[in-house]
Every structure is written in C-alpha cells, then in structure tokens.
C-alpha cells in the first residue's frame, strides 16, 4: 500500500530535532534533500499519525574494516578490498523541520523511533510547507534540492522587517528586484532608496518593453544619475527654508563643538524665520553680520550652493507614496551627505504620514547599501529615523527591507530587529559572524554552508517563511540595473568595433582610390 520511496532506516540515537539513518546507496540521496518519517504526536489530546519533514544536513560514509585510519597501510587496505570486506556504509544525518497541523508548522515533541523507514518527501508535502494562500504568498524561487517545488514567502512576515545579506555579486539587488515585483503585484506601496541607480530600470521588462506604469523614478534636481532613463524621472526637491538648524549643521559638517558658528547660524535663521529663503539668502544675511562665527559659517554654508537638492518647494510625500506603486529614489551621483539627507527627509516624511494616518496604506521601504545609512559606529542623519522604524515601525505599518553586502558594517541593533533574513553567498568571516549574531534562527550548519552557495541561491529564515529554506531565486521579469558587466562579452565587442573600424577605413580607401582613378589628370 505504501508506494513512497524508502531511502533508508533510522538508526542509532534520535531526538525530536535530529536523527541518523542508514542510506540505501542505490537511491543516493544528497545533502539538503528533503525526507519524511512517520511519527505519532499528541494533538488536542489525541494521538495522531503525522508526517515529519526533515532535511539531510550531512552525509558520511564509513567502513568498519577500513578503520581506524591511523592503523591502515596500503597493503592492509588492498587486502581488505580484495577480500571484499570493505563494506562501506552510508549514514545521513537529518534535521527535523516539523510537521503541518492546521496550516501551522509544529515541532515534534517525541523522538523519532529507530527502525522507522525514511522516505523521500513528496512534492505535495513540500508545497504545503513552502506555499501560502494567493494574496499572501510572494513567489521567490524554487527549492535548491528540488527545483520542481516553488517557494513562496509570506507578505505578513515583512511586518517584522527583512534583511538581505550577501556579498557583492551574489544577487542581492536581483533578489530585491524579485521582491519588489511581487510586492507591487500584491498591491504594496514600495519606496526604494537606491544609492547606485540599480533599480531605475524596474519599469522595463527584462525582455524589453514596459513592465509596469506603476513604477516611478525620482531624482533630485542635482542628481544626474548613473543611467539614462527611458522615461523622464520625476524631481524630488526640498525647500531649503524647511531645514532646521540641526539639519543644516549636519549637512554642512558643522560639528557640535563649534558653538560660535552654530550660535550665529541660529540667530540668522531666527531673523529669516517664516520666509522662503535660499542658501544664498542665508549667506547674504551672514555676510551682513560682523562676528567671527558668521564669518566662519559662510565657508560652511557655501557648500550648500553646489547642492541642487534645494528647490523652491518640498516635494509632497504623497506624490511619492501611492497605493500599488513603486517609487525608486535614485541617489546615484550624489555626494554622501546629500544622499544621506535626502534619505533622512524621505523616510522621516513616510514615518510622519503613517503616524498621522494621512497615508492609509502600509509602506515597504527598501534600503539598498543600508550600511551607508545605518553604519555600525559613525553617525548619519538618517540613522536615528531608520532605527526608530526598525524598533516600532511595524506598529505604524512601515516595514523595512535592508540590503547590504557588509553585515558587520551595519548597526547591529537594526540588523537584529530584522526578523527575517535572506542570506546569500558570504565568504568574509567577519560578515559571517555578524550574520550569526543577528539571527538565532540560523543553524551552525546553514552558516557553514554560506560560502558554498551559488550565485542566485539563498537561505531564507524568519517570519517570512514557515521553516528555514534554501532557495534558488526565480528569474526577474524586470530589467536589471546593478548587474555586473560581462567583461568577456564587452571585450569581444571592443575587438569587433576595432575590426569594423578597420574595415570601414579600408572600404573608404578603396572608394577613394576608385574615385581618383576615374579622373585622370587630377
């Protein structure tokens, strides 16, 4: 009656969280394969048969006769093999993921009995584990060890914030692009803080043409951006007279100990109060004064003249926030202080309108290069507001997704507030350590495997998934901006170009010869 494929039998000591089983070599299950064992659990006072899903964590092979290794010699081994006495055994160690009861994943309380058969997990069971109802599920990719099983994440999990951690080139921005596509489809209001212009092509589909008209790119008046865009970006501007003393001082780098400068600045701002003044007006007022503080303030404030972020009007945040809409704030080409200020301004405004309930839908803020805005030790303008959202944003419906390639350079408090993590290839030990300390859900085994992940593969843990899962991220429908250039292809193109130019010159010379040839005497 049981048609399931038996991979082996449980042996040795077992616990509710892990067990060993001898493997039928012909079936050769692999590391990270999903297996199922039957067990009995008490549920609502009733004992029931349950299917416990587990994942093979390690596989090892051992021979009793070819042991212990320090006593083995070539001759001895050759004799044992010749006598057919090697008898290697393959043992697998599986880690229990849990069983599904009423749509929830529960952990078994009972040990799994030795002697029980271990089956290959069915596609249906895996689907039950890694899918969500249509309005909740975000299609992220496929199981690494079972590429026919789709993996979904729960949009509910975003409430407790998300971090995407990976080293450069592992596919962070690509993954974030997939999330944005899915969030948009689910009706989300998404704001992307994009320091490198990696997301400016989101509105285009990967095959060319328009993907969605509900994606807008914003730039400051100054920002030239890294890419030329198909559609004209909208301008995000800030009225200079809306800035507080602290904000001005921060942007200009006037440290707190320069009390004289700050005092002069405070006096002048008071005088100007209420008017719509520009940085030049401010300098004009400072020039009128004859004290040392004002004089020194001028050289600091002059830096503002070059920043064209400041326009006549502050862009209404409700232009940026729209239901079922993605707004990409392209900060590429901006000075760090300006990018920081714009981010601070934008996020503070988002927080404000959510707190005041003047924008009625939750906002998903995706911050690329998050270590630039919430660094570990230094302080930035945007750091406090991001920390505040990390701590209490979920109450107001502001959800963070932080993306970074330097987990150890990011503020550890903020990182540990990110309840879910999408972790891709990471080789730097410092960064691995930061990942480990930020997530209690990562098993040592998963961590050990991070360097072994291929590009586009991720470990996902936390609230966004029922159980930790290893995923191959699905293909994007939108055009990428952040992808590395294909060096080989580009070099080939260069060679081709030079050859074409050579050909062209030869053709032109041939035309010239024949044109001259035709006319004798000239």
């Amino acid at each position: 009656m049981d048609e399931r494929e038996i991979l082996g039998y449980i042996v040795g000591e077992t616990t509710p969280t892990e067990f060993l089983f001898v493997v039928d070599e012909k079936k050769c299950p692999q590391r990270w394969d999903y297996v199922v064992v039957n067990s009995r659990e008490f549920l609502n006072g009733e004992e029931r048969e349950v299917e416990v899903l587990s994942q093979i964590e390690t596989i090892f092979s051992r021979s009793m006769t070819l042991n212990p290794p320090e006593l083995m010699s070539i001759e001895a081994v050759e004799r044992i093999i010749a006598q057919n006495l090697a008898e290697p055994k393959v043992i697998a160690k599986a880690r229990v993921i849990g069983f599904i009861y009423n749509g929830n994943v529960l952990q078994p309380r009972r040990a799994i009995f030795p002697g029980n058969p271990v089956y290959r997990a069915s596609k249906k069971l895996l689907k039950d584990f890694y899918s969500y109802p249509e309005h909740e599920g975000i299609f992220i990719g496929y199981l690494i060890s079972r590429e026919d099983v789709e993996v979904y994440l729960s949009v509910r999990g975003f409430r407790r914030h998300l971090a995407i951690l990976a080293q450069t080139g592992a596919g962070k921005s690509y993954t974030a692009g997939v999330l944005i596509e899915e969030l948009l489809e689910k009706g989300a209001t998404v704001v992307v803080i994009d320091p490198h212009g990696d997301y400016v092509f989101l509105s285009e589909s990967s095959s060319g043409g328009i993907y969605s008209d509900r994606i807008t790119v914003f730039r400051t008046a100054e920002g030239r951006g890294r890419h030329n865009l198909p559609r004209k970006p909208e301008i995000y501007g800030v009225r200079f007279s809306d800035l507080s003393l602290e904000e001005i001082a921060f942007i200009c780098g006037i440290e707190e100990r320069y009390t004289n400068i700050r005092r002069s600045l405070r006096d002048v701002l008071k005088e100007l109060g209420g008017r719509n003044y520009t940085p030049s007006d401010l300098i004009g007022e400072l020039e009128k004064r004859d004290d040392e503080g004002s004089f020194r303030a001028i050289s600091y404030i002059s830096r503002l003249l070059k920043m064209k972020v400041f326009g006549d009007a502050t862009t209404d945040i409700l232009k940026v926030l729209r239901p079922k809409h993605v707004s990409v704030m392209d900060l590429s080409g901006l000075e760090d202080a300006v990018a920081d200020y714009v981010t601070f301004r934008l996020i503070s405004e988002i927080y404000r309108v959510r707190e005041e309930k003047s924008f009625e839908f939750p906002v998903f803020i995706i911050i690329e290069e998050a270590h630039r805005f919430v660094p570990n030790r230094e302080s930035t303008l945007s750091k406090e507001i991001i920390k505040r959202i990390a701590a209490e944003g979920r109450k107001f419906g502001v959800f963070l997704t932080l993306i970074t390639q330097r987990p150890n350079k990011i503020d550890p408090d903020v990182l540990s507030q990110c309840n879910s993590q999408i972790i891709m290839r990471i080789t730097n030990p410092e960064d691995q350590k930061a990942v480990r300390s930020s997530s209690e859900r990562m098993s040592e085994n998963l961590l050990r495997d991070l360097p072994g992940l291929n590009v586009g593969e991720a470990v996902i843990v936390g609230e966004i998934t029922r159980a930790p899962v290893m995923v191959r991220i699905r293909r994007r429908k939108t055009r990428e901006g952040g992808a590395d250039i294909d060096v080989v292809a580009e070099l080939q193109k260069a060679i081709k170009r030079v050859e074409e130019e050579k050909d062209k010159i030869e053709t032109l010379e041939e035309i010239r010869r024949s044109a001259k040839d035709l006319v004798e005497g000239y």
């Binding site: 032109l508 035309i511 044109a515 035709l518 006319v519 004798e520």
Partner: protein, 375 residues
C-alpha cells in the same frame, strides 16, 4: 574678398535637340561671365556641372575657352566636378584642357586665398557617399585656423529634396563652421542660414527642366556675388536674361486664347496643358501648330481628360492583375490596350516590338503630343 558663385552651367546641353537651346546655354554663360567681369570679383567659384557631360561637344569647349579669355587671368577660378561632367569611365575631364583648378577628386582638398580657406570636394554618389561624409568631417578641424572659410561641393541635401529621397547628405552631415557653403546640383537657387554661415545653391543658369519654371519666375536664374568682408557674408543675386519658358493651361474649346499670353520679347518655349472632355489630340495639335508658327521656339502639349481620375486605384486584396490595374487607372479602353501591350513587351525587354506597338498606335491617332518624348 568678393566672390562669384556660379553653378550648373551645363555647357553643351541641347534641350529638345534644338540648336537654339544649345546656344541659349552658351549665351547665358557668356552673359554671366560678362557680369562677373563687371562686378570685379577676386575669385570665381563654380560648384560643379560646368559641362553637361564629361565629353561635351567641341562647341561647348570652344565657347568656354573664348569666354575665359575675357577674364584675362585676373580672377582665380575654383571648381569641383559635378555628377554630369565627372568621367563615367576612366578618363580626363574636359576641365583639364583649360588647366582649371578642380578641387577634391577622391577627397577634400583646400587652398588658402588671402587668409581665407577655400575647400572643395568633387561629386560622390551612391556607395561613394560614405567617403563624402568622412571627408566632410575633416572640414571643421581644418577651418579652425582660418578666420573665414568656404566649402564647395556638388551634392543634394535632404532638406532641399524632401520628396525625392535621392540625396547623399543630411543636414547633420554638413560641417558647421564654414562661412559660406557654395553648393551645386539643385537647379532652383536658394540661400539659408546654416551654422555660423550661409548655405547657398546658386542654381542653374538656364531652365533645364519644366519643374524649374516656378522657381525661375520667382527668383530668376543666374549666380551670386558673395561679399565676405562683413561679420556675416552678404549675398547679391545676379539675374540673367534667358529665353522665357511658360506654363499655359487651356480649355479644349478655347485654344485661341493662347495668343493673349504671347507677350515676351524673345520667342518662348510653351508647356501647354489642354483640358477637356473628349479631346481630339491630332486636331488640337494641328491647330496649335498653326497658331504658334513663328511665335514660339517650341511647344509641348499635355492632355488632361476631365473624366480620368488622378488618384491611383486602391490595390485590391488577393491576386493582382496588372491589366486590371492599368484599366482602372486609365479608364480608357484604347489607352489601356496600348499600355498593357507595351508593358508586356517592355517587361521582357523586347524593345523592337514595343517600338512597333508605339508606332502603330501613333499612326492610328496621328501626331506627337507627348511631353514624354523629350525624356
């Protein structure tokens, strides 16, 4: 510096195969050179098609030689080859006989005259236009060292030939720095501001095609005197007295009215369009011949049947029958039969039988009334 910019003189052109027309062109050229002498120019620029062919009649060479003598060597002459006088197969162009300075055979060529750059390129067409564009790119760099510069070429530019599409250069292909662009090839004279200077087609000196008549009526025919002394070049038109050509429209029942229109000093050439319901071509032709005898040099008739729709018939879906299309277009059984027969023989390059068909048709209707015979 004062420059005369002349172009498209087509010496040796013999319109309608008439001696008078060949001489008309010589007369216009002699007149032009007289005016050049009067105007005391320093430089004469000829922007191509000096002769109508690379092997012009001896008379064209003779007229040119004698006319040039009158300049007494006082005027420096620069020219480029046009599409008409450029050798079609390897050989010397007629210019060589007179040791004319021909610029830019196979590439841009230049000279300095009184601190002014004079650069030129001879005509390049078809696949050679690639070379033309590359060569023109050099101009801006060369002209940097000069306070004023002139570019001579014999080419069509898209802006001036918007409907024909038979051009080698787009406006963008032109260099931007020349003070004066002395161009030839387009026969209707015109000047426009371009870049930092002035772009000019000085036009042909005679009416070589019927479609030049409106432009001649409006702007005349002749050449330009260009003064480069000021900040911007100034251009003065010099008009030549040439044989008038008139376009006349007549109703078939009021042919006699044509006499009212003959008030020119010189016997004109008439391009007559006759409109009517049922036209008796032979009769009208005979009548006009009688009326115009001795009063005009030449006349050409075009008939327009009032009932012939001008619009090209809409293409039917599915199988297309050429015969049917021709019949629907011409809406005349007789004409359609001729057209279909000609089409059949000519599409097989059977020129002899096409000639026979045409011959017998003409014999049937009597008289040559086709403008096309000139082509």
């Amino acid at each position: 510096m004062r420059i005369a910019h002349i172009s498209d003189t087509h010496l040796g052109l013999r319109q309608y195969n008439l001696d008078e027309r060949e001489n008309d062109v010589y007369r216009a050229f002699e007149q032009a050179i007289d005016r050049v002498i009067e105007e005391r120019v320093d430089v004469l620029i000829h922007s191509g098609d000096l002769f109508d062919s690379p092997t012009p009649p001896i008379k064209a060479l003779y007229v040119f030689k004698n006319t040039m003598k009158r300049l007494n060597g006082k005027v420096r002459i620069y020219t480029v080859l046009g599409d008409h006088d450029r050798p079609k197969r390897r050989g010397m162009p007629p210019h060589k006989l007179f040791d004319l300075r021909v610029l830019g055979v196979g590439g841009l060529e230049w000279e300095e005259v009184d601190g002014i750059l004079i650069a030129g390129i001879s005509n390049l067409r078809g696949r050679m236009a690639e070379l033309l564009k590359e060569e023109l790119k050099k101009f801006d760099q060369i002209s940097e060292k000069y306070r004023k510069s002139i570019l001579i070429a014999h080419q069509a530019i898209d802006r001036f030939l918007p409907f024909e599409g038979d051009y080698e250069l787009k406006e963008d292909d032109l260099p931007g720095s020349a003070t004066y662009y002395a161009f030839g090839h387009i026969h209707s004279r015109q000047t426009v501001k371009f870049g930092r200077g002035l772009f000019a087609y000085s036009g042909s000196i005679e009416i070589t095609r019927r479609d030049e008549i409106p432009s001649w009526m409006k702007d005349g025919k002749g050449f330009y005197i260009v003064d480069l002394e000021g900040d911007e070049p100034s251009v003065e038109k010099v008009n030549l007295e040439i044989r008038p050509q008139l376009e006349v429209e007549l109703e078939d029942n009021r042919i006699g009215e044509i006499l009212n229109q003959l008030n020119t000093r010189v016997e004109p050439i008439l391009h007559i369009t006759v409109r009517g319901g049922k036209l008796d071509r032979a009769q009208i032709y005979e009548k006009l011949k009688e009326l115009l005898a001795g009063r005009v040099l030449e006349f050409r008739i075009r008939f327009e049947f009032e009932d012939v729709k001008k619009a090209f018939p809409e293409l039917p879906r599915g199988q297309i029958s050429i015969e049917e299309l021709i019949r629907r277009y011409l809406q005349d059984e007789e004409l359609s039969k001729l057209a279909v027969e000609l089409f059949k023989s000519l599409s097989q390059e059977d020129i002899d039988s096409a000639k026979n068909i045409a011959q017998s048709y003409l014999e049937a209707v009597l008289g040559d009334d086709s403008e096309k015979s000139q082509a």
